[in-house]
């Protein structure tokens, strides 16, 4: 029996809006991309607030660059703070990434070198973010096709260091774990076991595809355009078996949309994986004398 109030929701996307509104009773919450509303007119903010009155909403940032060695831009934090004050989501989240440096916009989430300097820099940025926004974000591990150069820490140690320094919770993206594990040669399940379980508050599940690499091999691209693969549900079960607090799971899909029935089936599969993991957690551990 699962005594923890785990929830499963969906990323809000315009192409899915009609289906989502039709099936609100089967979706526990919605995750909205905050950056889409930073410069939105008041009419759009009102629409978002109306949505938030119908179903729990959480905000997800994609461009703050909280794990950058540079200070996060104040203007962007102020935009997040204003949106938080308007929408009053249950929580907000951002990625452990850098997205710009030296005046160059990379265009997406890049993995910084994993070292003590970037642990300290991320903690400083997270402290600034909390002060500006009024609440700590959950921080999310990212997928990276490139093994971050000049790293001296493993990914799990780097993340654990930031969580400890900042006292933030973790939004654990399980497809990112799978992709990085396969692309850079570590066991995704072992990675999940190395993350402090009490810090895991939310989870992303998504799909991707293998793309050819110049050396004739393949790497897994986290594109959110495909169904959630079985290994991600296995990792979800493992996480549920370890996490001590309630989990909020969000299914991310960014294109090539399947039917709403198909997405609801993935949500149902996530609920089953959570339940199985929680059952494992409740079972007494056998002690060998």
């Amino acid at each position: 029996m699962n005594n923890l109030t785990d929830r499963v929701g969906l990323g809000w996307r315009p192409d899915l809006a009609a289906g989502i509104l039709e099936h609100l009773d089967g979706i526990d919450l919605l995750e909205v991309i905050a950056d889409d509303f930073f410069s939105a007119p008041s009419r759009q903010i009102r629409a978002l607030k109306t949505l938030a009155a119908q179903i729990p909403v959480v905000l997800h940032g994609v461009s703050l660059g909280l794990a950058s060695a540079s200070l996060v831009v104040t203007k962007r934090l102020d935009q997040m703070a204003r949106l938080m004050a308007e929408v009053r989501p249950e929580f907000w989240s951002e990625h452990l990434a850098f997205v710009r440096a030296g005046g160059i916009e990379i265009g997406h989430l890049a993995a910084p070198p994993r070292c003590s300097a970037t642990v300290d820099a991320a903690a400083a940025n997270l402290h600034r973010a909390q002060a500006a926004v009024g609440a700590k974000p959950l921080v999310e591990n990212i997928a990276t096709l490139i093994d971050p150069p000049a790293s001296t820490l493993s990914e799990s140690d780097w993340i654990a260091g930031i969580l400890s320094s900042s006292n933030c919770g973790l939004l654990l993206d399980l497809h990112n774990v799978l992709a990085n594990g396969l692309n850079h040669g570590y066991d995704p399940c072992e990675f999940v076991r190395q993350i402090p379980p009490e810090r895991i508050a939310a989870i992303h599940i998504a799909g991707g595809k293998f793309i050819p690499a110049p050396d004739g091999r393949q790497r897994l691209l986290d594109d959110h355009l495909h169904d959630v693969p079985d290994p991600v549900f296995d990792l979800l079960e493992e996480t549920a078996a370890r996490a001590s607090g309630p989990l909020t799971v969000i299914l991310e899909r960014d294109g090539d949309y399947p039917s709403m029935d198909s997405l609801l089936a993935e949500i149902a599969q996530a609920r089953r994986a959570l339940a199985t993991g929680r059952e494992r957690r409740m079972q007494p551990v056998e002690v060998v004398a």
């Binding site: 991309i33 009419r43 759009q44 850098f98 916009e105 890049a110 820099a121 096709l145 150069p149």
Partner: protein
């Protein structure tokens, strides 16, 4: 702090194909030219070259996608003008 220089150097590699070509031809010299420390220059000699090309391609596609109009914003604007019983 040299971590900011390193990030700026990486950002250039991820975005500019000429910078990637120059770096691949002579990693240490290019890293030195960017003002990176000896330790960082050494670390960059063991670069994930395959990952660099794949990541650069992926970042370029993301930048291309961002140049398209925001259908998300447009949808909510339309939604805010509608009136139907459950939602408004």
């Amino acid at each position: 702090m040299s971590s900011t220089r390193l990030e700026a150097f990486l950002a250039r590699l991820y975005v500019e194909s000429d910078a990637r070509a120059n770096f691949k031809a002579n990693p240490r010299a290019e890293a030195k030219k960017a003002g990176l420390s000896d330790e960082q220059c050494t670390a960059l000699e063991n670069f994930d070259w395959i990952g660099l090309e794949m990541a650069a391609r992926s970042f370029a596609q993301k930048r291309q996608l961002k140049r398209r109009p925001s259908w998300f914003a447009a949808f909510l604007l339309r939604l805010s003008r509608l009136r139907f019983p459950r939602f408004l």
